[in-house]
Amino acid sequence: MIDLSPEWIAQAQRGNSEAFSKLVEACQTPVFNLCYRMLNDPYEAEDAAQETFLRAYNNLRQYDNQRSFLTWLLSIAAHYCIDQIRKRRMNLLSLDDAVYLDPPDTAPGPESTLSMGEEQKKVRMLLEKLSPQDRAAVIMLYWYDLSYDEIAEALSMTVSAVKSRLHRARQVMAQSWSEQENPAKTERRQNDHAQSPAF
């Protein structure tokens, strides 16, 4: 977990944009990482991370100093990404015949530093079968060590709902991991299960 000076937060709340810039500098990687893991696209992740900081800046007065600032930011980012995934699905459903997509911005983008290595592909495959809320809960738990209470607060759900979602997510990820590691065996096992009356 990164260490944020409460003084920066207090100054930012008093309207000091320099202090908020320090917070952006300190929190950019966790926020971008969450957005990237959620959206699987560096351009969308960049956009989502920037939007997260804008929303945080505009609503800084609503921030409760008793909570962790990073958890608050991650909560904003997760909600924004969940909305984006929903919109993306809606667009896929309603714009099947769209033939033109806006070309990506030519400004220096995240692709320059982000190489889609083997590790990224594996993480992507592990997370992609999860629902947006399950994905956000998994990222908050395993990347940022947030407690169940913090995840529940960040995702606006109950602690038991978080536990249940994480339980389900672990099963899905174990299944995805098996498929990645042993694709042939998994296929054979699935066929066996399909023929067995017990499954």
Binding site: Y36, F53, P108, P110, A174, W177, S178
Partner: protein, 181 residues
């Protein structure tokens, strides 16, 4: 072994709640005999280890600068929006005022004799007032050389009182009267 027999063990495998010793023993025994659950456990352990060791992805260099630019653009957009709102409100008020004025002009032009009569009477009353002031000034000019200082003060006071009385009378007479039957 059926899916039903596996279920409690699957729940334990994917739960992060600590198991009581008896359940932990049962799970160990089950895992020794069940290949499918062993596979599931290995798969989850592999996935968990991988996730915990996956590195964080950082944004491209200059994220802060790009964010500051975006903040600036957002502020500019808000200012433009605010300016448009004020402009719209002012234009709306101007339109309402023009409509009222236009309506009044239209009404006046529909019956021009009333307007002309009103203007004529107003000009006549101004001329009358100017003539009265001129008469008072002539009397004053003729009297001033022969009057002592005390008489002059008395005269000015008298004229002032008369003026106030005249103004009050004029106001009272020119006010709209209520007709009592």
């Amino acid at each position: 072994m059926t899916m039903l027999n596996h279920q409690p063990f699957r729940d334990w495998l994917f739960s992060e709640e600590p198991l009581d010793p008896q359940d932990a023993l049962l799970l160990q025994e089950h895992l020794r005999s069940c290949e499918e659950c062993q596979r599931q456990r290995q798969a989850w352990n592999g996935a968990l280890h991988f996730i915990k060791n996956a590195r964080e992805v950082s944004p491209a260099e200059g994220f802060l600068n790009r964010w500051q630019e975006r903040l600036k653009a957002q502020r500019l957009r808000r200012q433009h929006k605010l300016a448009w709102v004020f402009f719209g409100a002012a234009a709306g008020l101007a339109m309402i005022s023009l409509t009222i004025l236009g309506w009044q002009v239209f009404e006046a032009l529909r019956a021009p004799q009333n307007l002309l009569l009103f203007l004529f009477l107003r000009v006549a009353s101004y001329i009358t007032i100017m003539n009265s002031i001129s008469d008072y000034l002539n009397i004053f000019r003729a009297l001033v050389p022969g009057l002592p200082v005390a008489g002059l003060v008395f005269f000015v006071g008298f004229i002032s009182m008369i003026s106030v009385l005249w103004l009050a009378t004029y106001k009272r007479l020119s006010a709209v009267r209520r007709i009592i039957e």
